[in-house]
């Protein structure tokens, strides 16, 4: 049997409150460009961390502050890596541009009634989605000159929306909520006619409590979700995106991973190598992979390893880096970020 180890490479201090989320810059980590990620915190700041190519160690390159007036809940790099979007409890989403190493706030997206909880760019970087405690999901179109126009306000969730994620290749949006549901949104007819095309809820083997996060596999035909109900669920679709006839290929539940987590699972992220990591309120990181020895009707995914006490407090976010040999980064209530190397 393969044996894996998650080795702590570095523990990064700097934030003065819980670290809620982090995001790797997708344009880094290859072609000699050092890895970069952004982290955001209850201390109202965003920090930019860069790897030194000779020591492989990360250091803080910039602190983005005095823009958000409350917790910065999540952050997301545009596909080109040139823009960073940050979502805050202050009801705004800020867009930052890297100008010669300095980050300037070039746009502020206003409209949500209260806390913005998540932000996501589509694959081409032309659309942005945000979601809020106000139960709505907004879609913004990127215009020339760093202008963002709201093209749709999606109502459908009955409680606060915890996360929005675009599909990795198609312009299909996924949202998950305190109302226990995952909703799939697509632009079915003419442009900007966004509709909810599917709801994955308790009645179709969905979650029985808050859904905190979701992540796609590399090919985009599978999705994993995590919840306050202490389970991870894997979902699959036959056809990615819209079929040629214009119909939507629905997602279906294929597997529930239960009994592994002791407290709320806040984060899940699927690596391009096929391993998904979970971060939970029990301070542990777990890694899962498809079960190659699976019998007919056997479990589809197996636990590769459990890293107990990965942090001193809840783990809010786990994210695999881009690049050939991905690193895992984790963000915690203990105010630190840790970078991990998966050794097999």
């Amino acid at each position: 049997m393969d044996s894996f180890e998650l080795k702590e490479v570095q523990r990064l201090e700097g934030h003065t409150d819980r670290v809620w989320s982090l995001d790797w810059n997708p344009a880094t980590g290859h072609a000699g460009i050092p890895l970069v990620f952004a982290s955001c915190s209850g201390d109202k700041t965003v920090r930019i961390w860069e790897q030194n190519l000779s020591t492989n160690l990360f250091s803080c390159k910039a602190v983005l502050e005095e823009t958000h007036t409350r917790t910065v809940r999540s952050c997301a790099w545009s596909p080109s890596g040139k823009l960073l979007a940050t979502a805050s409890f202050d009801a705004t989403t800020a867009i930052w541009e890297n100008v010669g190493g300095d980050f300037e706030c070039v746009s502020t997206l206003e409209g949500h009634e209260n806390e913005v909880k998540s932000v996501s760019w589509n694959a081409s970087g032309t659309l942005l989605a945000t979601c809020s405690r106000d139960k709505s999901v907004w879609i913004w179109e990127v215009q020339p000159g760093n202008e963002f126009e709201c093209v749709s306000v999606l109502q459908g969730h009955t409680q606060d929306v915890k996360m929005v994620r675009w599909h990795p290749t198609e312009d299909i949006l996924f949202s998950c909520s305190y109302d226990n549901n995952i909703k799939v949104w697509a632009d079915e007819g003419d442009s900007d006619d966004w509709q909810c095309v599917q709801t994955l809820g308790e009645s179709n083997n969905g979650h029985t409590s808050t859904v905190w996060a979701l992540s796609f596999n590399a090919s985009g035909d599978k999705m994993v979700t995590c919840s306050d109900d202490l389970t991870l669920k894997v979902w699959e679709t036959e056809n990615i995106g819209m079929q040629s006839g214009g119909g939507f290929a629905p997602w279906r539940h294929i597997c529930t991973l239960t009994g592994y987590h002791e407290r709320t699972i806040f984060s899940v992220h699927w690596s391009r190598g096929g391993i998904f990591a979970s971060g939970a309120a029990d301070d542990a990181i777990r890694l899962f992979a498809s079960n190659s020895e699976s019998q007919v009707d056997g479990p589809l995914y197996k636990l590769l390893l459990k890293k107990e006490k990965a942090h001193d407090m809840d783990i809010n976010s786990v994210q695999w880096s881009p690049g050939e040999k991905p690193l895992l980064a984790s963000a915690s209530d203990d105010g630190t970020i840790k970078v991990w190397d998966l050794i097999s």
Binding site: R18, G42, R70, T71, R73, F89, N114, E115, K117, R133, D160, K162, Y178, S209, T210, D228, R263, A281, D282, D312, M313, D314, D333, D334
Partner: protein, 159 residues
């Protein structure tokens, strides 16, 4: 005018006698780590003031020592509180006060669950879900009005 209070006439109970902390440790035990127990947790929260009455949560029997479950080895606490009336809209504020007080009093390794006693509240599941959603708690504590209300309930009383 009718009273605007949720529960205008609450029943007041006698406070439980304060027990001195366990017998003096012997000098050789000076550095021994004392595990956190039920009584210690109860001492942290018994004097929290009710949001609408000049009485403590103990005097209103919203909390009792028996309603505190603690496992120091696993760094786990669960507090089960009983609102004075079953449609009490103050339940989430009381729960928030309990959470904040324990957050400020206990070592950070502790995991805390707060819930209303089963059957004691009309929207029990909704209240419990809200009190244990840390994102909602974090957002609530950034609301100056709510934080003032919580701080007032946690302010030491001088009886």
């Amino acid at each position: 005018m009718v009273s605007g209070l949720i529960n205008a006439n609450p029943v007041i109970y006698e406070k439980k006698q304060r027990q001195p902390r366990s017998a003096q440790s012997l000098p050789s035990d000076e550095y021994r780590v004392e595990p956190i127990d039920q009584q210690e947790i109860f001492d942290h929260i018994r004097d929290i003031k009710d949001p609408e009455h000049p009485y403590s949560l103990e005097e209103l029997k919203v909390i009792t020592e028996e309603a505190v479950e603690v496992n120091d080895q696993n760094s786990y606490v669960r507090v089960t509180f009983t609102p004075t009336v079953e449609h009490c809209s103050m339940a989430t504020i009381i729960g928030l006060c309990l959470r904040v007080k324990l957050l400020r009093s206990l070592p950070s390794r502790y995991k805390v669950d707060i819930r209303v006693a089963p059957g004691s509240h009309a929207t029990e599941a909704a209240v419990n879900k809200q009190l244990n959603d840390k994102e909602r708690v974090a957002a609530a504590l950034e609301n100056p009005n709510l934080l003032d209300m919580v701080d007032e309930c946690l302010a030491p009383s001088y009886d």
